[in-house]
């Protein structure tokens, strides 16, 4: 039970923003100015909604709180480049007003706000949200894009047919029908390494998720590496693992909890994708796993307190020092509650 608490919130959010901006730039490169418009609208509405909600709650705005920006960028990259503008606005308002501010604002969320916003909008408007334009095709600027431009995602086809419809190279560069910023594996892999080295994302949770889900898919697909690539690139799986389930605001705090949480999220993702045949399984999995993350932390705290009571029995003083640190960190959160 050791926790990574050496980073400040602003540092983590800055790292996330940098990576998301790179993904956004790639999305604009693939899908043109309409993608840029969706990103700007979603992010802008998230920030404005956050500001309005904070004012309505009569709280002071914190200048270095860019969590709404991170949520806006994450949410916009999960959308299709052909998403109607109105739907992007609704998703943004729901993500901030209902999934974040209703719980008490930044740091009080239970569920990742971008995941909740995406779930809301994809159930409301599945035809518009879950159909995608082809990369490098000029998408008209009208709010409702004609159906002739749109196709189901590569992930959906992979789920229904069992085999990916694009090559591994195309998966790595993100050249397939899907959400505008979540399929570019090359950037996502670099982002994962960058964020892990910068300790903005938990290495334990992320690697547990990737390894467990990768192995499960490898076995279920009959040892097909192409299927594993399709699993991570399509259906926003790798993107979701980095930005949704490993979101520092909703993740467990202790290392042992993060490991178990990562395994749970991976299991749920594979279960939902393979047995329920639902695309974007990571979004559902990250929401379902969220309460279990909180419980895992609580269990870790009880275990740490039990160890503290058995002071000097089996453990060396160095371990006790770490136990004390863990108790202090978790105790602070409990006191705040």
């Amino acid at each position: 039970m050791y926790s990574d608490n050496s980073k400040t919130d602003i540092s983590i959010m800055t790292d996330m923003t940098i990576v998301l901006l790179v993904l956004a730039a790639a999305a604009v490169y693939y899908y043109g100015l309409r993608a840029a418009l969706i990103i700007i609208i979603t992010t802008g509405v998230c920030c404005i909604t956050d500001f309005i909600c904070i004012k309505l709650r009569k709280k002071d705005t914190v200048l270095n709180d860019i969590s709404a920006l991170v949520t806006g960028l994450t949410l916009s990259l999960m959308l299709s480049a052909s998403t109607p503008y109105f739907e992007a606005v609704i998703a943004a308002i729901f993500a901030i007003a209902v999934a974040k501010q209703a719980f008490g604002g930044n740091g009080c969320e239970i569920f990742n706000s971008a995941a909740a916003g995406f779930l809301f909008i994809s159930i409301c408007f599945p035809d518009n949200i879950l159909t995608y334009p082809t990369a490098f095709e000029k998408i008209p600027f009208e709010s409702i894009v004609s159906e002739s431009f749109l196709k189901p995602s590569m992930a959906k086809l992979f789920i229904t047919t069992g085999s990916p419809s694009v090559s591994v190279l195309e998966m790595f560069v993100g050249k397939f029908n899907g959400p505008m910023g979540t399929g570019i594996m090359i950037i996502l892999l670099v982002a994962a390494v960058f964020l892990t080295l910068r300790r903005s994302v938990s290495a334990i949770a992320l690697s547990a998720e990737v390894v467990v889900s990768g192995m499960a898919v490898f076995l279920l697909s009959g040892f097909d590496l192409q299927a594993v690539c399709a699993f991570f690139s399509g259906g926003m799986t790798l993107f979701g693992m980095i930005f949704l389930s490993c979101d520092y605001r909703t993740m467990p705090k202790t290392r042992s909890s993060r490991l178990l949480y990562g395994i749970l999220a991976a299991g749920l993702t594979v279960l939902i994708q393979y047995y329920a045949k639902t695309e974007n399984a990571i979004v559902y999995a990250s929401v379902i796993a969220a309460p279990f993350g909180i419980e895992l932390d609580r269990r870790a705290l009880s275990f740490a307190e039990m160890l503290k009571r058995k002071r000097g029995s089996l453990f060396r003083s160095r371990s006790l020092k770490n136990v004390q640190e863990t108790l202090d960190i978790l105790g602070k959160d409990d006191k705040e509650k």
């Binding site: 609704i90 209902v98 809301f120 159930i123 408007f125």
Partner: protein
């Protein structure tokens, strides 16, 4: 002395009515009988049906149950309340099916589920049966009115934003959020309406204090 007693009685009745309709509204503040509302009430006509069914079953069950002697041990009393509810259900279902057969059929299993709703099983022992008969009747009637009013408003809003219709007729709103026709949206709408009620009560309280 008599005037003071009357004043106390009047305030008490006012409090009962205010609590039943607003402050402790059974569905928007108390979280009672949520299942039929969230699952079946996705339109205005269905809201009316649930309101009618709930009112008939709950009122008569509570009225008859109030005569069950308190000397009977609680373990047996609770079975008697449920049994009385099931007995009341028989004529109630015949009567309501006569007047609204399709609507009652659409309620599915949630119509017989009203037999053991939380009013009958928990609120009766906790609140209603501790009051005098007169106050109990008043409390029950206004609680039922409060529940019905909230359900009807809920059904109206849910139909408009979830299907874009009113009583089945398309009313041409710019966007329809189909999640509100699902149980998930039902829960979300209930939560938002409960929060709005709190805001209204808080505003009323602040205005009164000023």
């Amino acid at each position: 002395m008599e005037k003071e007693t009357d004043l106390v009685k009047e305030n008490s009745c006012k409090t009962i009515i205010f609590n039943a309709l607003l402050k402790k509204n059974p569905i928007l503040a108390g979280g009672m009988v949520v299942a039929p509302v969230v699952i079946t009430v996705d339109s205005f006509p269905r809201a009316l049906t649930l309101a009618a069914a709930f009112s008939v079953i709950t009122f008569f069950t509570l009225l008859i149950s109030s005569f069950v002697p308190k000397s009977i041990v609680y373990t047996v009393r609770i079975i008697m309340y449920a049994f009385i509810g099931a007995l009341v259900y028989v004529p109630a279902s015949i009567m309501l099916e006569y007047f609204m057969p399709d609507e009652i059929n659409e309620m599915g299993i949630f119509f017989p589920l009203l037999i053991i709703n939380s009013f009958i099983i928990s609120r009766s022992e906790a609140i209603f049966f501790l009051e005098s008969k007169g106050k109990m009747l008043l409390d029950i009637i206004f609680c039922i009115i409060g529940y019905d009013a909230a359900v009807i408003l809920y059904g109206l809003i849910r139909e408009i934003i979830g299907s874009g219709t009113f009583c089945g007729e398309i009313i041409g709103i710019p966007a329809v959020f189909s999640v509100f026709s699902e149980p998930a949206g039902g829960f979300l709408l209930l939560g938002i309406m409960a929060a709005l009620l709190r805001v209204i009560l808080l505003t009323v309280k602040k205005v009164r204090q000023k």
